[in-house]
Structure formats: C-alpha cells, structure tokens
Symmetry: C2
Subunit: 353 residues, 2 copies
C-alpha cells in the first residue's frame, strides 16, 4: 500500500493532523502532529508537506484546526475564519491548490450562515475530509486509466515525485505504477534523482520502497544511456501546468527526458488531474518559468539522499554514436563528417592498421 502522507487522527475537537515531515526523508520517517494553524503554516511553508494536492488537503485541515475553538457566535466565528484563511494562504504565495482549498472551505461555511456555529464547524471538518477523499479518488481514477497503458511486465522511468507523498494518496504518475502493481503486473521503476532538490532520489525512491515496488535511482544525465542499453517500456511523469495544445510544464528535466524517449521510441506519458489544465494558454511558450536560487545547485544536499537499500544505477560513462557528433577535434585536425574513412585519413599515418 502506498503511504498516505497526511491524516486526521481522532475527532474534531480532540483530534489533530498528522503528516509525514518530508524534509527529513529518506533519513527519518517522522509524523508531525499539527494541533494548531501555526504548526500547519510552518509545515507548508518549509515544505514538510509538498505537492499541490497534498498542500490543498493540509490547508483545509489547517483551517479546521484554526477555527475549531473559535467563538460560537456567528460574527466572531466568521471573523476568525477569515483571518485564518488569509494567514494560511500566505504560507506559500504561489500554490494554486492552497487558495482553491481554503476558498472552497470558506464558501462552504458561508453557505451555512444562520445555522449554529457548532454545525458549521462540524461541516468544515467533514469538508476537509471530503477534499482529501476526493483527491484520493481522483488519484485512483488516474491510476486506473493509466494502468491500461502499462504492459504485463514493464520497466518504467519517472522524474521528480508525482507520488502519494504529493497527494492525498496514490499520486498521479505513481498512481499508474501502484495500480499496475495491484493488477498483478510485474513492474520495476527507475527514478531520476531530479537535481537540484532530489525529489526523485529522496521521495519517489522512498515511497516506492515503502510500497514494496522495486526501484533504482539514477542521475538525471544517465537517462539517455539507460534507454539506449536497457529496455524502458515507458516514461511517465506528473505535470504542473498543461496548456490548450498539450504542451506540459513540469519539473526541470522533464523536457530532456521527453526528447530522449522520443529518440528511443519509448512512449512518454504525463499523468495529471484535469485541474492541471490551463486552457487559457494556447501553447507552452506562454508559460512563465520560475527561476530559482543558484544556491540550490551550488550548496550541499542532505547527508543521505537515497534511502538505504535502494540501488543506484551508476554507469561512469556512456557511448555517443558517431551520427550525433558533428566533428572530432584532434591535434591533427578536425574529423568531420565522423566516419571510418575520415578518421583514418586524419589519424594517418600512425594508426592506420
């Protein structure tokens, strides 16, 4: 069973949210208890919980934590709700699912104006659990549709983490993997480590290992060679935004992977909920790309970046076929075009036999 990264434990008033602190993976599995909005705010802000759908669930539950002890008079309650909404919304200013979940919760509360506040509180609690359940169902649907594309025995390459850790459960790209496994298919996964933040090495490898799915980590630059030398049946990745013509924005490196898959005639799939589509943009050229701090590249990682027990695919070299090389510059001149005859010509007379 894939992990569920976030859960409400016990009832509305006495309960709390427990979530996996993803910043400590894969070194330690720590369930963080959130009993108030402040703890949840911090968890979202510093990426203890990450992945658009998981953030939505966390925010909805955070709002419940924020108002469960709010005044029982309507004005006092809605005032507290509004403040809590704005507070939680500021935890990650660009996360669309965060706003979506908070606004859905507030709208639900407003639809109940006039009812006792205790009823509104209970309804918000139910609504947060509904958001979680709906996300889980959506992931299951994606898994079901995607598993049809997976052969009975398959080696699958993925990038970043579009797994259960990023959603209520199951994930998007990894939902396809989990569902295929449940159907009795024989699946093994190669996970790009996904520089700079190593979500593939740290998170995808960890959750697949937890679920008992064989996984091997590789450096991103080895994906081409992997396709060239081993049978990769398909590539599947998540998406951050998909525009009207299907151009897809996703974690840096996805594009390189797609080109490499295309070169090797390996099917390249994207798995994403319909909420990921932005039909207002005609094609990918209109998608703004976030440029992040260079320190993510230049500064160190965590001390252990792949879970213990997960193998790494680590060829030191690869072979580039001559047809891809425009010229070989030697101290005797440039070999171009690159072919046997021209090589011998330039190297002559010392190496002609």
């Amino acid at each position: 069973m894939p992990v569920r990264p976030i859960r409400w434990k016990s009832g509305l008033l006495d309960g709390c949210v427990e979530l996996i602190d993803q910043t400590l993976l894969p070194g330690k599995l720590v369930w963080l208890e959130c009993r108030d909005a402040e703890t949840m705010f911090e968890a979202i802000q510093v990426l203890r919980v990450r992945g658009a759908p998981a953030i939505g669930v966390a925010a909805a539950m955070g709002l419940v934590l924020a108002v469960r002890n709010a005044p029982e008079n309507e004005n006092g309650f809605f005032d507290a709700l509004s403040k809590a909404r704005d507070y939680l919304a500021s935890s990650r200013p660009t996360a669309v699912n965060l706003f979506w979940a908070l606004d859905r919760m507030v709208a639900r509360a407003k639809s109940l104006k006039g009812r006792p506040v205790s009823v509104i509180k209970q309804t918000l609690f139910d609504e947060a659990l509904t958001i979680q359940r709906e996300d889980a169902n959506m992931c299951r649907s994606i898994g079901g549709f995607g598993a049809v594309l997976v052969p009975q025995s398959a080696t699958i390459l993925t990038h970043c983490n579009a797994g259960s850790l990023a959603t209520a459960e199951y994930g998007t790209a990894l939902a396809v993997v989990y569902t295929a496994v449940e159907q009795g298919k024989k699946i093994q996964v190669y996970a790009d480590e996904t520089r700079p933040l190593l979500q593939g090495a740290r998170l995808t490898a960890w959750e697949l290992q937890q679920a008992g799915v064989p996984v091997t980590v590789l450096c991103d630059n080895a994906a081409g060679w992997l396709m060239q030398t081993k049978k990769i049946d398909l590539v599947i990745v998540g998406a951050d935004r998909i525009v009207a013509n299907g151009d897809t924005a996703n974690k840096i490196g996805t594009y390189s992977l797609a080109v490499l898959a295309w070169r090797h005639n390996v099917p390249f799939y994207v798995a994403a909920p319909s909420s990921t589509f932005d039909l207002s943009l005609a094609d990918g050229s209109a998608i703004p790309i976030e440029m992040r701090s260079g320190d993510e590249i230049g500064r160190p990682f965590a001390s252990r970046v792949v879970p213990d027990g997960v193998p790494c695919y680590n060829p030191a070299f690869d072979v580039t076929p001559a047809e891809l090389i425009r010229g070989i510059v030697t101290e005797r001149g440039v070999i171009s075009p690159v072919c046997r005859e021209r090589i011998r010509e330039v190297l002559a007379p010392s190496q002609t036999n």
Copy 2:
C-alpha cells in the same frame, strides 16, 4: 591564462613536484608538494590529480622522484626503477596513460644502459618534462583546430572537465574555448554540473573562472531546456575512448547531451588527442562501461560544489511540447494523441471554454 595543474619546481635533486589538490576544489586552492613517490602515489590514487594526460605527467614525474636518489650502480638503479614503475602503476589500475607514461620512461632508461646512472637520471628528468611539454603542445594543437569551429561570438555548452586540470595545460574541449578567447572571440560557457562527482561544477567552473572566461553552471537535466530557450552555438566535450567508426565513450551524460543537441540542431563536437582512438573496436557496442558504486549518487557531496561567484542556471520547470507526449492520463481518461481537440473532448464538459 588557464591554470597548469602540475609543475616541477627547481632542479632534479633539490626540486619537487607541485600539483593542485583537485579534491579540495573549488573550496580551496592548495598546491601539494610531492618530494617522494609515496606522496605522488597517494595523490593519483585519491584523485588529487586526475584526467588521463595529467596522470601520465604526474606518473612520469613520480618515477623521477622515486629514483633520483637510487643507487648509482646500474643493477641497483634498474632494480629500483622497476620496483618504482610497478608501485606507481598500481595507483590506478585502469588508467591507460599511467602505464603508457611509466613504460615510456622505463624504455628511455633502458635505451641508455651502459651510460653512467647519473646521466640516465638526468635523462629521465628531461623525459618527464618532455612528456609534459608534448601534452601541452598537443592541447594547443587541439585548441587551434577547434577554435576554427567557434563563431566570433559564441555560447558553448560542455560536460564534465576536459580542461587544463585534466592535462598538462589547456585541456582538450576547453583548449578550444581558451584558444577562441585568445583569438579575441567573445565566449561564454555553460558547464553541466556532471553528476555524480560534479567535475563540471567543481572543476570546469573553477578553471574557467580562474582564466576569466564567463561560466554558468547548470544541472545536467536542464541542458535540454537551455538549448530550447537560449542560443547555444555549440556543444564540445572530451572523450575517454573513440572507436573506429567514431562512436565515443565519455562521461555519463554525454550521450543524452548529444541527442539533445541533435534535436535542437546544435553542432556537437568532441575534442580529444589521437591517443584516445581505439581503432581495434569497430563500433561503440564493444566498449565496456564501468559501473561504479551507487554511493556516489546516494551519499553526500562536498559542502560547496560550485565556486563562489559562478552563477547557476536554475529553472525549476521546463515545458515539454505536446508532440513528444504519447498520452496524458487524467482522472477522466487518457488524452491520446495529444492535441487540442482530444484535450477538449476528454476534459468536457467542465473546461470547454
């Protein structure tokens, strides 16, 4: 001026070898003094000096250190020479240039049998300096031939370190860069960080920075997106082995880079001395690929992996064009082929406007 990573300081008997301890780059520039064969052995073994040509030079100089105080009688001297040769040869068992340089030195000594041992010692000293000079000249030649391929103003992408740090000076791929700069061309370089051991981030970025050539580091997986969004005029890399038809083994990731260059119609060049060619192999499928420890991927890096002051290109996302995507799996079904019409069909009715 590009750095020279290894130099003999002062005379045969009172001098020593100084080499840059590359394991400490880019954090610290430390010149290691080698006054005996043991220090040189350790330096080669733990990669304080690396790169095939540089190892050859280091080994030759190490042999001089080993025998400069050897007995002055011929038998005693050749006995010491033979032992020192075997000792140094065991520092890195698969390094072809190491054996080549040591055997050239021994052959030179043997050719002088009957002459006074002091003369043989002086000749070996000269021979080591000759090996260094020849390597430098070879790199200069490669630079000269390669610079012709470089436009007056050019943005060049490279992988790993095929620079002065790997040779007597100038390098192979980077010799082309240095020569173009000397010719007054306006050059900027993008350096793949080159996982897992980060030779691009640590070494290529450092030596280009030292030489005053503008350089930006990127994660390997960003190379495709870089080519898609910025003008890369050419890619140039080194080589470990080139076979009869031009298929080229080089640092893992080179192949991916070549495919990406081909997709974007960016010329992809290899720069290498003729000694890199192995005409005994017909094509690349016969080249054995070293598989290295997974710990290189899973265990941590040095604490600072890009020199201070070198910018990093760090887009968080990229855009994969629809034509490269075989299908998009959503909770409403699979969109395939990926085109506007099919997207609207699957997403309907909720997002059709």
